[in-house]
C-alpha cells in the first residue's frame, strides 16, 4: 500500500511530459474540506469541518486533466458517559473518538467546457488512505492505525476570475470509499461524503 502511495505521487509528473494548450494549464490549489462519515457512525459521526486538500493538475488537452490530490481530515465522535458491563465487572466513562485521515490519489478530471469562465468537471481519484484512530477516556487513550485503498469520485465547478487572471476558485462534492479498518475499534471500510472549497493558482509555469 505504501508503494501505491508513492506511485500516485510521482506518476502524474511522469505521465505529463509537457503542458498542453489546456486553458487551465497546470494548476495547483488548496481547499477547505467538509466531510460527513457515512459508515462506522458509532465511532465518529460528527460533520467535520476540519479538512484540507492539496490539489495538483496537469492539463492534457481541452477536456482532460490529470494530477494528484493530497488530503487530510479530522473526524470526531463523542460517546456520552455510560456504564459498560462485563462478566466480572463494569466500567463507567465517556469517550472522545478521533480519526485522522490522510489520502493521496491519482486523479483524472473531465472538463466539460474549459474555455469558459465556469468550468464544470467530473473526475475519479484512486490511491491510498491512511487513518489513525484514537479514543480518549479521561487521561487515558487507546490508538490504532490502518492503511487502505481509496477511491474518490468527484464532481464540481472551477471559476476563473478572468482569462488574464491566474486565480480561480473551485467547489466540488465527492465520495470517499476506503478499505480502512481497525479490529480494535470495530471499524470497517470507512466511507465519507464531502464538499470542498478551493483556491486555485492556474497556469503555473
Amino acid at each position: 500500500m505504501k508503494r501505491l502511495f508513492l506511485l500516485t505521487l510521482f506518476l502524474p509528473v511522469a505521465w505529463c511530459q509537457a503542458q498542453s494548450d489546456s486553458p487551465l494549464g497546470r494548476y495547483i490549489g488548496v481547499s477547505w474540506n467538509m466531510n460527513k462519515p457515512l459508515s462506522n457512525s458509532a465511532f465518529v459521526s460528527d460533520f467535520s469541518t476540519q479538512g484540507l486538500q492539496f490539489i495538483y493538475r496537469e492539463g492534457i488537452n481541452e477536456h482532460f486533466s490529470v494530477g494528484a490530490d493530497l488530503n487530510y481530515a479530522v473526524y470526531k465522535g463523542y460517546t456520552p458517559r455510560k456504564t459498560y458491563y462485563g462478566d466480572s465487572g463494569a466500567l463507567t466513562t465517556d469517550y472522545f473518538n478521533y480519526v485522522q485521515s490522510f489520502g493521496l490519489t491519482l486523479t483524472g478530471d473531465y472538463l466539460f467546457s474549459s474555455d469558459k469562465k465556469l468550468v464544470p468537471f467530473a473526475g475519479l481519484g484512486i490511491g491510498a488512505a491512511f487513518a489513525d484512530f484514537k479514543t480518549y477516556y479521561n487521561i487515558y487513550s487507546k490508538t490504532d492505525s490502518s492503511w487502505g485503498l481509496l477511491v474518490r469520485p468527484q464532481a464540481g465547478v472551477i471559476y476563473r476570475f478572468g482569462r488574464s487572471n491566474n486565480w480561480g476558485i473551485s467547489a466540488a462534492a465527492y465520495l470517499d470509499y476506503t478499505t480502512i479498518k481497525s479490529s480494535d475499534f470495530d471499524f470497517n471500510n470507512f466511507n465519507s461524503a464531502g464538499i470542498r472549497l478551493a483556491l486555485l493558482f492556474l497556469n503555473v509555469e
Binding site: Q50, V74, L91, Y136, Y137, N138, Y140, D184
Partner: protein, 215 residues
C-alpha cells in the same frame, strides 16, 4: 507577484492545517472520573453482615516515595466517610477489626502506576496488569491500608493517581489467606476539576454499578 501568490497560497494551507485539532481539551476529558469495578462473580455478598475499615486514614502507593504509605487529612476523611455511608445504606454494619468482621474495606491511592487495564471502546474486557485483584488471595491479612507491602503494580503511568477500593473476605479464609472479592478504581485524581466532589461521585458510582453488593 509570483512570490506573493505562493506566499499567500502556503499561508492559506498553513491556516487550514493549524485549524485542525486532533485531540479533545483536557478539561473536557477529565470532567468526570472513570470508574472500573471488578468482582468474583461467585460471591454471595448477602452472606456478609459486618465490615471493618479504619476511619480518616487511607493507604498510599507512590513510587516516588515508597515510605509514604498513608494519607490522612480531609481527603482521607471524605473517602472513608463516603464509604461508611454507602456501606451502611446497603445494610452492612461497621465493627472494629478485633470484632471478627466478615469483610475488610480497604481504600488507598495509587500514584504514578497504571491500574486501568485493557479498556476498550464500547466494550469492557477486564484483565489486570498487576497488583491484587478480585479472585486473588492476599498472602496474609495483617491490617488495613498501607503497611502490608502493598501491591506491585507493574506498569508506570506518570502523573496519575487512582483511588482503589477493595472488599476483602475475612469470613472464609483459606489456609489463613483471604480473598479479594471486589475492587474499584476511580481516576484520575490529579487532573480532576473537582477532586473531592468527583471522588464522592465516583465512590457512589462504583457501588451503583455493582448491584450484586447487597444484603
Amino acid at each position: 507577484m509570483r512570490k506573493a501568490r505562493i506566499t499567500f497560497f502556503w499561508s492559506v494551507l498553513t491556516l487550514l492545517a493549524v485549524g485542525c485539532s486532533t485531540q479533545p481539551e483536557m478539561v473536557d476529558r477529565v470532567r468526570d472520573m472513570i470508574v472500573q469495578t471488578n468482582y468474583v462473580n461467585t460471591t454471595n455478598f448477602a452472606s456478609y453482615a459486618t465490615y471493618a475499615m479504619p476511619m480518616d486514614t487511607i493507604g498510599h502507593v507512590f513510587n516516588q516515595d515508597p515510605n509514604d504509605t498513608l494519607i490522612v487529612g480531609d481527603y482521607a476523611k471524605l473517602v472513608t466517610a463516603t464509604l461508611k455511608t454507602t456501606m451502611d445504606q446497603i445494610g452492612y454494619t461497621q465493627v472494629a477489626k478485633n470484632q471478627s468482621p466478615d469483610l475488610a474495606l480497604n481504600a488507598y491511592v495509587v500514584e504514578d502506576y497504571s491500574v486501568f487495564q485493557s479498556v476498550g471502546y464500547s466494550n469492557f474486557y477486564g484483565g489486570y496488569g498487576g497488583g491484587y485483584y478480585p479472585g486473588y488471595y492476599y498472602p496474609g491479612y495483617y491490617g488495613y491500608g498501607g503497611y502490608y507491602g502493598y501491591p506491585f503494580y507493574q506498569s508506570y503511568s506518570v502523573n496519575t493517581a487512582t483511588l482503589v477500593l477493595e472488599l476483602v473476605d475475612l469470613k472464609n479464609k483459606s489456609n489463613n489467606k483471604v480473598l479479594i472479592v471486589w475492587n474499584a478504581y476511580a481516576g484520575d485524581l490529579l487532573t480532576s476539576v473537582d477532586t473531592f466532589g468527583k471522588t464522592t461521585e465516583a465512590i457512589q458510582q462504583a457501588f451503583k454499578q455493582s448491584p450484586y453488593i447487597k444484603k
